[in-house]
Amino acid sequence: MGKFIATSLKEMLLLSRDRSGLLVLFAMPAILVVVFTLIQNNILKSSEALDIEVLWVDGDRQALSAEIARRLSAGGNLTLIRELDGEPLDIPRARKAVAAGHYPAAVLLPAGLSATTARRIELQIQAAISGAPAGTRSAQPIPRITLLFDPLAQGALRGAVTQALNNTVLTLEMERKARALAAVLPSADTALISQRLLAVDARRMPPAGLAQLPTAVEQNVPAWALFGMFFIVVPLSGALIRERELGTLLRLRSLPVSPAILLAGKVCAYVTVAGLQFVLILLIGKYLLPALGTPPLAMGGCPLALAVTVLSAALAAAGYGILLSTLVDSYEQASMFGSVSVVIAAAVGGIMVPVYVMPAAMQALSGYSPLAWGLEALIHIFVRGDSLVPVLPQVGGLLAFSAVCMLLAGVVFKVRGSQG
């Protein structure tokens, strides 16, 4: 036990003195999780039209413009911004803010909108009753509401804002015309105007096996934590290769200690580091990201499932690192091949882009990435609150991967050792 602990502590001491290694293991995933979560959160906001902030320049300030504003706000997807820096908005400031990309859109309502609209309705009703031709029913110009968009605003966002405004205006127009008609035809029941004939119930199907789509935080926090954990492959394989190059491996082999104890001590150190990485990324997801405007991270209801999954993922990464160290000849090769292979496994495994948005062929391929197994298990724990049993297949896959890697490493090491 003493030799195992001594090896573990020695490994930790060496890692703590390796500044570039610490940067790779802790700073890189921390930066990536913040950057990718914020980007993905913003994309989700834009593409799903959730809580879009729109500048509201009300030149009318009468009943109609107030009603349009009320209904748009009540829709829940738009937040109307009426002031900037404590001052009421005007058209030049709104144009400047949108052109600069500070806001995705601005709605400009002309002066006299309420009065002109009321007059047009009155004239149209009178003309309709008198039987005048359709083209001659109103001499009043059509009042126009102007929508300005940031030149870089996505099509989905433009469509969502335009549609929300058009729907509101159309509904209001219908209601006002009905009321005007009722005024001249007292027997008409105007209530039918607001009675719906058809309803559309739009729902987004969640990915298979999930009750709901993970938020950007729920997707990215486990994803980048796993990515960082798998990067222990680089320092771990590097440490083993350095021992071979320096001759310390020869000295270790000449001592009365089992190679299994040495390896276990080393793996224990790196699994501990992987656990610390996971805790760091979890804390970022819990405290830092919500402070930057993302949804909060739900931690799931089963700490045991979380701990076992993290441990399995760390063991898988350690196994791969050990195998890599036996296959390559130099630290440079381990560093290059280790990082490239982890990045590829991460890309395929849904770390950078969720698996459910990948094409079918890529989704099938992702089934071979240990990072995908880990991510799937963690998302189930975070999003569905799953316990250990439902994620056992993924945990088993990670442990089997670790065991196969270590077994292969043992075989390669033995073969190479017998060749001097």
Binding site: L13, L250, R251, P256, V257, S418
Partner: protein
């Protein structure tokens, strides 16, 4: 009974048609330093790796203090010390941290480990530098720390693979004096070097190996006397192994 006894050891690496070691007979007694000399590629490293239980021989018998090694290599390592040719230390650990770690793996602990580490560093003149990282040491200091790490558990048999390569005269003189002191305490040593004058000065016996076979073995003075034309061990070595380049 010799401290180390190797009989008819042979080894051929997979994929090679030539044996790396053939009919290798070698002994070391207590308090004896035996030099294993040979040109590059002669089989010295293979011989040391087999005798230090790091590599399995294809055939032959190997015993330490009369006990056959085969099947109990790990236990027998308690009686062996190895000073590799490379500086087999962690550059980012201090000298003390390195020795503490290797001493712990050698089975030392507690006060005993602490005392052995302190004594080991003192004996190689590194007590004042115990807290410095090995990376910052000069070549001579690294060599001395390398030797101290191989001696922590006071093994009766020590293998030294070119322990004085690339160091200044002062460090070399100190190392050789230290090895003489260990010999006086009864430690047996296998010593490889390319410095013939060093072998002549330090070793009680030398074995000259070439192409995996021992071609001469005995006391340096007796071997030189046996070849009338040779005035020293260097001339004898070249007379026996030839002047053709080996690598």
């Amino acid at each position: 009974m010799p401290l180390l006894s190797a009989r008819n050891i042979s080894k051929t690496y997979p994929g090679s048609s030539l044996p790396a070691l053939l009919d290798f007979d070698f002994t070391v007694d207590r308090g004896e330093i035996v030099g294993l000399l040979g040109p590059n590629g002669a089989g010295k490293t293979t011989a040391i790796a087999i005798m230090a239980t790091l590599l399995k021989a294809d055939g032959g018998e190997l015993a330490i203090s009369g006990r056959e090694i085969r099947g109990r290599e790990r236990r027998m390592r308690q009686d062996l010390g190895l000073v590799p040719q490379d500086i087999a230390l962690y550059p980012d650990l201090t000298a003390r941290e390195n020795l503490n770690y290797f001493g712990r793996l050698a089975g030392l602990k507690g006060t005993c480990l602490k005392e052995r580490v302190a004594a080991g560093l003192d004996q190689v003149g590194l007590a004042a530098h115990a807290g410095k990282r090995v990376r910052t040491f000069s070549g001579g200091m690294q060599r001395r720390a390398n030797i101290a790490a191989g001696l922590l558990h006071s093994p009766p048999l020590l293998f030294l693979d070119e322990p004085t390569v690339g160091i200044d005269a002062q460090s070399r003189s100190m190392i050789l004096a230290y090895l003489q002191a260990l010999k006086a305490q009864g430690m047996g040593m296998v010593y490889t070097t390319h410095y013939m004058e060093e072998a002549a000065q330090l070793c009680d016996r030398v074995a000259i190996i070439d192409s995996g076979r021992i071609i001469a073995q005995g006391r340096p003075a007796a071997l030189i006397a046996g070849h009338g034309r040779c005035r020293d061990l260097g001339e004898l070595f070249l007379a026996l192994t030839g002047k053709a380049l080996r690598d």
